[in-house]
Symmetry: C2
Subunit: 360 residues, 2 copies
């Protein structure tokens, strides 16, 4: 944070809200404009519903010291990331986002500049995904910075996809390549530790330039509306979830909500290339990054074999990583050598002490 | 907080969510049940829209040490209050609430018992006002407890009421009697200070029993859906806002959004009786409590003279406290002796140091 920034108190709550409204601007999207009857400025936002579609709503909180570290995260990236991560929940329902609210609990140390840049990141993500911020709240925080994001959206009445629809025999698929967000975090934590141990008299230059793609995945995740949109029109998806807490954990969620088991094939897990390189630097297995690293925001889904060919040119970006089974088969990890073992479901649990495996 | 309660970490995030879902239960209301396609358990809640009404959405955050003090607030009361305060924003639009999400940032010190009782308070308010909690988020907090509440609702297409519709000549009206929430807070802070200064060897009994009605107003505010519902069917209201930050502050909001002025008559301000008594104990003016005390959740609104008689038996619970004027007349406080002065607009601003007037 800039040590000589403008204290939030000098603007006051309503001055700050005016500043943030100006940063957000009006939505470019004509459909959103038409549906936005009243945005920020009243007790509640007023919106026109889409009568022939289902409404979606999801809420998430992001806490300093738990979800993000302002010593190595720029406010702009933070704003993008909290919005992208929240919107990813709408993609995971095969939905289309529309509106959002943002609530900030702002600590004394935060400046108008920090909050403004945070909102510039929020606004950038909103432009990218055609979302309008229609409300919010700004209050003081006696602890760190807390960002609460609620997003809404809509889905076709017979096209919404739940976690609970997986069927034995389904293909288990994932978009993208995994592990990079965790790999980026490993680099950031390493450089933070190097900085802490460095000579205060010598300028410190973090070693980050070689890891741009992993850092970008960590700081600027992209919810997969490209795939969700294709699914909502062309593919019958049985179950879907986004990967926020790690692949293994999300497989457990789908199995638990659907009442099925799964076999996950080690050889088929699409590990990001840079991740393999970074894990090597730490003498760790890149597969663990792909299995247990969070903040990926790729989509994990199940489809029947007959739907697979309809993926067409999406198949380059989608990997078949396993097959759903009857529940009594359990959730099984099939090693490259053919040996099987139960898939540990541990993902990110906010209230448990970190166990073995990748830290975060 | 019970010193020997169950640590949240022993249940884990998903165990805690299961516990909270059980406390919330299913909505009794048949209309809500029908509209709730999928509640807590997926990436987003899935809802049926009400096609012929406008959608409302509002979000608020409540931070320990800023909005509430767990040393004298029971978790049940806290749960009720955050939900009631949030729902009041829907009442202020002449709306009807339907769904809510609750996001918690939970500090290490909090126990399963505390969070469960908090949710019992949330559930009680939801039953009272026919609201279903359809989603949420639980994460750790490195600071205090933070509660984020987003509420949704609907309003008739030509019956929604904004802050911006006040017209010169309108009657300025308020529901209920004011000041009691602030008076209750004064008592709580006095007893907290007495406890801090008391002999640790002697049992301390706070002096609260004589102040039940003020404490109830402070801890269990009641959003005025009775009045909002009546308005949505019978009365043409020009502008409305709920009193969360204090009467004077809310008058300024209506004037600013509507581009009008107002004259507020001191003699007409409905000061709660117990408030007069409590303010006397502190040798303070009860009018200041009524003007600047927050957390009232009464409705402030403007109507034309011809609508007033339609209030019928509501008039016992509604006071005419002033008249809207042209903007160039400013916002004026008319003393009982007829002298006038500008109405100080100061309400609760989260980022400014407390000034003179009632503290909170």
């Amino acid at each position: 944070m800039p040590p000589d920034g403008t204290p939030v108190g000098s603007l006051g709550e309503f001055g700050l809200i005016d500043r943030l409204r100006a940063i957000l601007g009006s939505p470019d999207d004509a459909g959103l404009q038409r549906r936005l009857v009243k945005g920020i400025s009243d007790d509640a936002a007023v919106l026109l519903p889409v009568p022939d579609r289902l409404q979606l709503i999801s809420t998430d909180s992001y806490a300093e010291g738990i979800h993000f570290d302002l010593t190595y995260t720029s406010p702009h990236h933070l704003g993008w990331k909290v919005m992208a991560a929240s919107l990813s929940d709408i993609a995971a329902m095969a939905g289309r986002p529309d509106f959002a609210t943002v609530a900030l609990c702002i600590p004394q140390k935060a400046t108008v500049e920090l909050i403004s840049r945070l909102y510039e990141g929020v606004a950038a993500a909103c432009r990218e995904y055609s979302v309008a911020v229609v409300g919010g709240d700004t209050t003081a925080s006696s602890g760190g910075l807390i960002i609460g994001v609620t997003v809404t959206g809509s889905a076709g009445k017979d096209r919404v996809v739940y976690r609970s629809g997986a069927q034995p025999g389904d293909l288990l698929c994932v978009s993208g390549h995994l592990g990079a967000s965790h790999a980026g975090l490993k680099i950031l934590l390493r450089e933070k530790a190097r900085f802490a141990g460095s000579d205060p008299g010598t300028p410190f230059i973090p070693d980050l330039a070689r890891y741009t793609s992993a850092l970008e995945k960590h700081f600027m995740p992209r919810p997969r509306f490209d795939i969700a949109g294709f699914f909502s029109e062309r593919i019958r998806v049985h179950a879907m979830i986004d990967i926020s807490d790690g692949l293994a954990s999300e497989i457990h969620h789908i199995c638990s909500e659907s009442g099925v088991g799964a076999a996950l094939y080690e050889r088929s897990i699409p590990v990001d290339l840079v991740t393999q390189h970074i894990a090597g630097e730490f003498s760790e297995s890149p597969l663990l990054y792909a299995l247990y690293g969070g903040d990926e925001y790729e989509l994990l889904f199940t489809i029947s074999d007959t739907e697979y060919e309809k993926l067409e040119n999406l198949t380059e970006d989608v990997s078949v990583i396993g097959r759903m089974t009857e529940a009594d088969k359990g959730i099984v990890y099939v090693r490259e050598n053919g040996e099987t073992e139960p898939l540990a479901g541990r993902g990110w649990d906010h209230f448990r002490a970190p166990g073995p495996g990748p830290d975060r």
